[in-house]
């Protein structure tokens, strides 16, 4: 292992030995406090306007949004969206309690399997931990009830997001994650619009390897 030789070479370059303990205490403090830097003013808004900004930014990045008044309206919104895209009603859904509590049977044409996505799944339904208004970004930490493959393998990803989970800046997302989840999840995805590539002649094409369509069902509820 070259660990010691690399560390020694770095210290030689910095013209010092290992840091003295007062210095490491200070740096440990910085890690523990993880101070914020300058946060752009654009997302510093009343909550309702943050939600508006979030929706505008998702649409700017080629995603789409349906706003519904409550969880009971989600199946209708999903069924209508899939029908409008000419897609079948077969879906793989995150085994998340909030999604499981939705009265899906109200729309009998929707056929739902719970679990992770496989290569053959066409439509996935995911649960969002937060939405970041700053850039219209969905924050999706992995968990047993929020599999990562749902964000990647299906051609169409539908994400259910509570309006109360719309935050201003990414930093608010990190703080909420530290409070509500604690330790860093294995995987945290920030998703801004559907998959795309500009590798062919530097010209944008949607649907490279990930979902071609990203649809957010935004459920109105009061801010926490």
């Amino acid at each position: 292992m070259s660990k010691q030789s690399i560390l020694t070479a770095i210290r030689r370059g910095l013209k010092r030995g290992p840091l003295p303990s007062d210095q490491t205490t200070m740096l440990r403090g910085r890690l523990a406090q993880h101070p914020r830097h300058l946060i752009p003013a654009r997302s510093r808004l009343p909550h309702a306007e943050q939600v508006e900004l979030f929706v505008r930014n998702v649409e700017k990045e080629f995603g789409s949004v349906t706003r519904v008044p409550d969880m009971d309206s989600v199946p209708g919104a999903v069924a209508d969206y899939l029908a409008a895209q000419n897609l079948p009603g077969r879906m793989v859904m995150a085994p998340h309690a909030e999604l499981q509590a939705i009265p899906w049977s109200a729309r009998p044409l929707l056929e739902i399997r719970e679990g992770r996505a496989e290569g053959t799944d066409a439509v996935s339904v995911q649960h969002a931990f937060a939405g970041i208004a700053e850039t219209g970004t969905l924050m999706l930490p992995s968990a047993p009830d929020r599999p990562v493959t749902l964000n990647l393998l299906a051609d169409t990803e539908v994400v259910v997001l509570r309006a109360s989970a719309v935050l201003g800046a990414y930093e608010e997302g990190w703080d909420r994650l530290r409070t509500e989840i604690g330790a860093m999840p294995r995987n945290v995805m920030f998703i801004t619009g559907p998959s795309r590539s500009a590798d062919i002649e530097q010209t944008l094409e949607l649907g490279a390897h990930g979902p071609r369509r990203l649809h957010v069902v935004l459920v109105e509820d009061s801010p926490r």
């Binding site: 910095l14 890690l31 968990a143 920030f190 998703i191 801004t192 590539s197």
Partner: protein, 476 residues
């Protein structure tokens, strides 16, 4: 190891200038990168302040890099991952191969990684019977064509639609030969279909890292296609390749850097997928890799610490410098002869493969300063290129004629009175000589200039003299 053709930069540049396909690609894509960045920057009033923040975060990290790397490693171990410290490319190749062999890997999918190019990991795996498959669309076609990327974020920058079609027809021979490629979309769909089965079959996934986070032991990748995420999610083993300077302290630090990264690179406010990976699959998880390895590579970085080139270690590989560089815009990336092109390559390459091999690169600059003016972490690239030129001169690596001319110039430059006299004599003389035409079509010792264009004749006096005169009559 890629054989660097950097020593042949001049010949490479001639070839590039005569390459019609490359020139078509450069003319098409260059201006759009510039416009997209400008538009993203215009949309964020705090952008300039965020560049200062980004620079300061990187400087703080580098000044304490030993501490942060050890803190990072501790967190990776805590989250069930492993860190393999590698001093050079050879150690890194061995580490990756050992992990792949232990996993019994036959195929390996790869996300885009510049350090992967630097250590030429694909060749090494292939030599040992393991098939690496590049999955970033641009990297995929580069691999099929056995080329190097010509741009650090747009590897296939130099190709046109007809090149894609040609390569796909030659490679995907199992598909009907009469299929049509009418538009870019057809190329994209074929690549997507081809690669989907590779993603699902791979035993190991290798990605790079845009950042490593000491606070949490996370590696961060930034992509638009989603290929990096499929690469690190589906196979049983995930290997992260990262050089030591990718480390930053906290999630907040990484977040601040991400705000300037995508805007500087593609002109997006945020990339489509920005993903933080921390360790292996957790209890109850339905997906994710069972093993998580970080191959942490020095390969010349620590030798830059404490030198005038330490500032280069702030680089976050956005490519804004090459997108705005008139030299890159004229000759493209391959002329630079190794992994990193453009201004950042002109500073980094001599540091990594030696100024004796890459001395032409820091000389291939007009010093217009555009690279520094767009760098999100404010690396003074022209100044660093000048430092390489000094080292090259000190080590007597520059050509004799060039050294003799410089010595002659230095003789006069140290004697200002003589300098003015001599330049004035030359200006007046040339002005008289070229009065009729106003230009010279040929000039001894300046054929490099006059072969391509005329040299304008001086209008009769030197700048110094005209400036002094203008001051006397109160014009300035």
């Amino acid at each position: 190891m890629h054989i660097a053709t950097s020593p042949a930069f001049k010949e490479n540049a001639h070839v590039a200038l005569a390459n019609a396909g490359l020139q078509k690609a450069l003319a098409r894509s260059g201006p759009s990168f510039i416009a997209r960045r400008a538009s993203a920057v215009a949309g964020l009033p705090e952008f300039e302040k965020l560049r200062d923040t980004a620079r300061d975060i990187k400087n703080h990290t580098l000044a304490n890099l030993d501490f942060y790397l050890e803190a990072y490693e501790a967190k990776v171990l805590e989250s069930g991952g492993k860190v393999h410290w590698c001093a050079d490319a050879e150690e890194a190749r061995q580490a990756v191969l050992a992990i792949c062999q232990a996993a019994g890997a036959r195929t390996v999918t790869k996300g885009k990684s510049m350090i992967g190019e630097e250590i030429a990991i694909n060749d090494h795996l292939e030599r040992h019977g393991i098939t690496p498959i590049e999955t970033d669309l641009g990297e995929y076609i580069i691999q099929l064509r056995h080329e190097l990327p010509s741009h650090i974020i747009a590897p296939a920058f130099h190709l046109n639609l007809e090149d894609w079609e040609d390569t796909f027809r030659k490679t995907h021979t199992d598909l009907p030969s009469d299929r049509q490629f009418n538009e870019r979309r057809d190329v994209l769909i074929e690549a997507r279909t081809k690669l989907r089965s590779k993603f699902l079959a791979a035993d190991v996934g290798i990605t790079g890292a845009n950042f490593l986070i000491a606070e949490t032991g996370s590696s961060v990748i930034v992509t638009n296609e989603g290929n990096g995420d499929l690469t690190q999610t589906l196979p049983r083993v995930h290997i992260v390749l990262a050089s030591i300077e990718k480390c930053v302290p906290t999630l907040e630090d990484a977040t601040s850097l991400l705000r300037v990264l995508a805007r500087s690179a593609t002109g997006q406010d945020f990339s489509v997928y920005t993903t933080f990976s921390t360790g292996a699959r957790r209890a109850g998880d339905l997906d994710g890799p069972e093993e998580y390895h970080v191959v942490l590579i020095d390969n010349g970085r620590s030798a830059m610490m404490g030198t005038e080139f330490q500032e280069m270690l702030r680089c976050i590989r956005c490519a804004a410098c090459m997108n705005h560089c008139p030299v890159y815009g004229a000759v493209g990336g391959h002329a630079y002869g190794w992994v990193y092109p453009g201004p950042m390559g002109s500073v980094l390459t001599p540091g990594l493969i030696g100024v004796d091999k890459a001395g032409h690169l820091p000389n291939a600059s007009t010093f217009c300063g555009k690279c520094e003016s767009v760098c999100p972490v404010r690396i003074p690239l022209p100044k660093l290129m000048r430092h390489w030129r000094e080292r090259e001169f000190e080590r007597h690596l520059s050509p004799t004629a060039q050294r003799a001319n410089l010595a002659l110039w230095a003789f006069f430059a140290r004697r200002p009175g003589l300098y003015r006299l001599a330049t004035r004599a030359a200006a007046v003389g040339m002005g008289l000589f070229g009065r009729k035409k106003g230009r010279f079509a040929k000039m001894p010792m300046a054929s490099g200039w006059t072969n391509g264009r005329d040299l304008p004749a001086p209008e009769g006096d030197t700048f110094f003299a005209r400036y002094a005169k203008a001051q006397r009559v109160g014009q300035i």
